[in-house]
Amino acid sequence: MVTRGFSSGRKPPTDTDARIPPGQYLEQGFPVLSAGPTPRVRTEDWSFTLKHGPRPIKKWNWTEFNALPLTKMTRDIHCVTAWTKFDTAWQGVLVDDILADAGIEPPTGFTLALSFDGYTTNVPTKDLTAGKAMVALLYEGKPITPDHGGPARLLIPHLYFWKSAKWLNGLQFTERDEPGFWELRGYHIYGDPWREQRYTGDP
């Protein structure tokens, strides 16, 4: 349906068009969205726990975690509220390197990301491995601010950004695909921006 009087003045140039998923627009800033107050987590109090179901596999404190191999990832990110931001530059620990340090192969096909404020989000384990995701510690070379999920946030850039949990404190392997916070509140179980999987029931 064409909207009377609406023109495509803001249509991005063709060379960037291919990088913008359907229904998204290009944002230069870095909007902040969250369901509650911003937790202020001190690095002294920070820890990260890898779990299989309720059972902890390994726990790291801030110093131990920062001693793991650091990898750079510069990626476009896509928020379900329709903004896309190009070339965000992160540095952190690949999930592959966390698993290697724990000395395990992924025990199950699904994972829940866990946050300090009780937030959770689910993701198939294969979307976290093979270099696809990291626990980010730095944004543009600096510690991630609390608004953007610092001290550490998950980065899964190929899925809508609510999957990249802020204030991360653990990953939990689950036997089934268990819906997380937003997935229980009307948002898509997987969240592929290129298939525009925004809400429950989207294909």
Binding site: Y25, P39, L184
Partner: protein, 248 residues
């Protein structure tokens, strides 16, 4: 709260039935859905515009009307000068025009009178819109749940829904309006002429008969950050505070 998954809600065509200017920068658009549209106070919709060459722009807007409001849903849209969708609504859209809408969306920033209270609502600028839906829902249900709204605006003439809010307040039925004007002196006795802070939150909570069961905060990111921190400093547990941010 009922936080169940939203049913699938495909795009539908809606017709603009009425346009009402609220403040110099905010105008309400009353949209008539083509299909039944049941929603909860606090939810939002996605609006989509399509250009002749197929280019589409979409934005999310909170619903201002109560679920009980009847045939149309009200969106109160602030004109953002560098925006893409809000200037269309303010400068071009006319009664009888059609746009596409999807929703209702969001299952967290919602309240029904059956959820109980007391409620502490904190809005900055057009962040009052989803809170207005809750306040109107309370009035439509003749609910006795105590509600305090702390509403921050720059000046008196930018207080969206001002007359209606003052009317609700004057009913003295458990709804209390507190205005915080940031660029003008306060006009009502209990209002403030400063930004929201912890002392203001403490004083506003005193107006409620019991500590809030839920606090809802909506506005710009800077406003929500400051207001949520003020609530925490005033003793409201972070777990009771639900926020909605425009993003910027």
């Amino acid at each position: 709260m009922s936080d169940g998954p939203a049913a699938q809600s495909p795009w539908q065509t809606v017709t603009i039935r009425r346009i009402e200017k609220r403040t110099p920068r905010v105008t309400s658009f009353f949209l008539q859905p083509s299909r039944p549209f049941a929603y909860r106070a606090g939810q939002h919709v996605d609006v989509r515009l399509t250009a002749p060459d197929g280019y589409q722009a979409r934005r999310s807007y909170s619903i201002a009307s109560a679920p009980e409001a009847g045939e149309t849903i009200e969106l109160a849209i602030e004109r953002l000068d560098d925006g893409e969708v809000s200037p269309f609504f303010h400068d071009i859209a006319a009664v009888g025009d059609e746009v596409e809408l999807r929703g209702p969306l969001g299952g967290h920033f919602v309240w029904s009178d059956s959820d109980g209270g007391p409620l502490l609502l904190v809005g900055g600028g057009s962040g009052v819109v989803p809170l207005m839906a809750m306040i109107r829902h309370r009035a439509a249900r003749r609910s006795a749940v105590p509600v305090a709204l702390v509403f921050s605006a720059r000046v008196w003439d930018e207080v969206i829904f001002r007359d209606e809010l003052i009317d609700f307040h004057d009913r003295r039925d458990g709804f209390d309006l507190v205005l915080a004007l940031t660029r003008e002196p306060a006009r009502r006795p209990a209002d403030y002429s400063r930004r929201v802070d912890a002392a203001m939150m403490e004083q506003s909570m005193v107006r409620l008969p019991a500590p809030p069961r839920f606090a809802f905060v909506c506005g710009s990111n800077a406003f929500v950050s400051a207001a949520a921190q003020a609530l925490i400093d005033a003793g409201v547990p972070a777990s009771l505070i639900r926020t909605e941010r425009y993003g910027v």
